[in-house]
């Protein structure tokens, strides 16, 4: 009997040890899952870098690159300093009361998201916390993506420091408020209106696109873009192949972006023990993402091809395809995602032309691809996805997805982008900081700002990189 009991106890101990091992494996998987999204999302920035430099004329190619690199460099620390705190602090709006899920409000944010005091334990290496850093990293890359979206629209005439200030306002504040309201499970847009924006078509893309529109109104067009009668001239970039490859890299990075929108199961902070969920706590599978992202890319490309035959717009159509279906990638049927994306690819160029006819010089079509199509995607989900439960779990009862809720979400995302973009750029314009002087713009911003040359063998007057700073 004693021997049997001893054997039983040994068996139990063995099973407990195996269970503990499984828990450790799951924790390590969860940490790795988000960690991997970070380098994948950095590919978005490699793509935007190539895309913007290719879309710039030879005389501006490096200054466009410098601007893009600095946006990344400043958004990451500012998101660490205060952006992460804004996300956790204000899902329910002002004054930052806690929400029903118990993971929001100023008090909660003060406890986990500041880089000082007791809160700092969650903002640095901590053996007892394997999640905060990788969550922060994924969100910081979302933040940097918004700045890169705005960056392409304003190339070839904006001052570097003004651009960085705008990038910080967008990346570490404006989109963060949109994410708190429309993405966090305690967000008032979600709990009151059932807003569903799984892949951030509105709260990342539309906010960034319309922030760029607000800036473009104050920044004005590049010299030579418009004729005296108001007609527009095409200003081609110096390297279309670089631009097109950059767009493809952005799409590669989107897989990481959308992967980071999934909450893995089995952890203390997970919605479910046995299945992945969206950030709203509703079920999702990686299969759903694979089906729908691929079909949306294809639909967007085909739609843009039939209308334009232009590789720039075809690859922009691929982006537009993903963005148009992004809000409902968790619940679209793949063929329906294809149809929605196809329609986005078709309307893309006419929407960009409409904007251009109103005197807006958006050098890469960012307002249309990200702003207009982002809102289109949010509203499309209201048409096709009405009736789906918008939340699950501790957040309690919530409305279902509806057309009215999605339209309200779209309006809020538009305002959260456009208003800060317009106001901040207006202040910078009044301070004389927004735009480079005319002579510098004509000479080329590389000559003015960058002590290097993109293509030193091209032309005798190209600026030469000094071997030593003293030379």
């Amino acid at each position: 009997m004693e021997q049997q009991l001893a054997e039983l106890a040994a068996k139990v101990a063995e099973l407990e040890a195996a269970g503990g091992g499984a828990a450790i494996t799951n924790t390590m998987f969860a940490e790795t899952f988000y960690y991997v999204t970070i380098p994948l999302m950095i590919l978005i920035h490699a793509g935007f870098l190539a895309y913007e430099m290719g879309a710039s004329r030879l005389k501006n190619v490096l200054s466009s690159g410098v601007k893009n690199i600095l946006a990344f460099a400043f958004v990451i620390p500012t998101f660490y300093f205060f952006g992460w705190w804004v996300y956790w602090g204000f899902p329910t709006g002002l004054p930052g009361a806690p929400g029903p899920a118990g993971i929001s409000g100023v008090e909660y944010a003060n406890a986990i998201a500041w880089g000082w005091g007791q809160s700092a334990q969650y903002m640095g290496p901590n053996i007892a916390d394997q999640a905060s850093g990788v969550f922060f990293g994924a969100f910081a890359l979302f933040a940097a993506t918004t700045a890169s979206i705005m960056s392409g629209a304003v190339i070839e005439r904006i001052q570097t420091v003004a651009f960085i200030i705008l990038a910080v306002v967008l990346g570490s504040f404006a989109w963060v408020v949109a994410a708190a309201w429309g993405w966090h499970a305690d967000g008032w847009l979600v709990t009151d209106w059932g807003v569903h924006d799984f892949g951030a078509a509105g709260l990342v893309h539309a906010v960034a696109g319309f922030f760029a529109l607000g800036v473009l109104i104050n920044l004005g067009p590049r010299i030579g873009k418009f004729n005296a009668d108001g007609t527009a001239n095409h200003i081609p970039g110096h390297n279309m192949p670089l631009t097109v490859v950059g767009l493809m890299l952005i799409i590669v990075g989107f897989w990481g972006f959308l992967m980071a929108c999934v909450i893995v199961p089995g952890e203390a902070w997970s919605w479910f023990a046995d299945k992945p969920s969206t950030i709203y706590g509703t079920p999702i599978t990686l299969s759903a993402l694979s089906f729908n992202i691929l079909m949306a890319i294809a639909g967007g490309i085909i739609g843009a091809w039939i209308y334009t035959r232009d590789p720039f717009w075809m690859m922009s159509g691929a982006l537009a395809g993903i963005i148009s279906a992004a809000s409902g990638l968790d619940i679209y049927f793949p063929a329906l995602a294809f149809i929605v994306a196809f329609s986005a690819g078709v309307i893309l160029k006419p929407c960009a032309d409409w904007l251009e006819k109103r005197g807006i010089d958006d050098a890469v079509g960012a307002v249309t691809v990200h702003g207009t199509i982002g809102l289109y995607g949010v509203v499309m989900l209201g048409i096709w996805g009405s009736g789906y439960p918008a939340l699950q779990g501790a957040a309690g009862e919530a409305p279902t997805i509806s057309l009215m809720g999605q339209i309200i979400g779209a309006v809020v995302f538009f305002l959260l982008g456009f208003v800060p973009g317009y106001v901040c750029s207006f202040i910078l314009k009044m301070a004389g900081m927004l735009r480079v002087p005319e002579g510098a713009e004509l000479a080329g911003m590389d000559l003015v700002k960058v002590p290097a040359s993109g293509y030193p063998e091209w032309g005798g007057d190209a600026p030469v990189t000094p071997a030593h700073p003293a030379e």
């Binding site: 039939i306 049927f333 096709w384």
Partner: protein, 56 residues
């Protein structure tokens, strides 16, 4: 378009896409395939017309 009678995720144990169990998935597949064919037809016609202009 929620494919279950009760609007809660607790009743969902299988397919959860829009229109599951109805005609929407099949119809959408048919339309998507039709778009692909139509785009190829239109593309061939317009590209041929442009190419012929270079033979004159």
């Amino acid at each position: 378009m929620f494919p279950y009678d009760k609007a809660t995720w607790e009743v969902v144990d299988g397919a959860m896409f829009m229109g599951w169990g109805g005609v929407l998935p099949g119809l959408a597949t048919l339309i998507a395939a039709g778009i692909c064919v139509a785009v190829l037809v239109i593309g061939q016609r317009s590209e041929s017309a442009k190419a012929r202009a270079f033979d004159k």
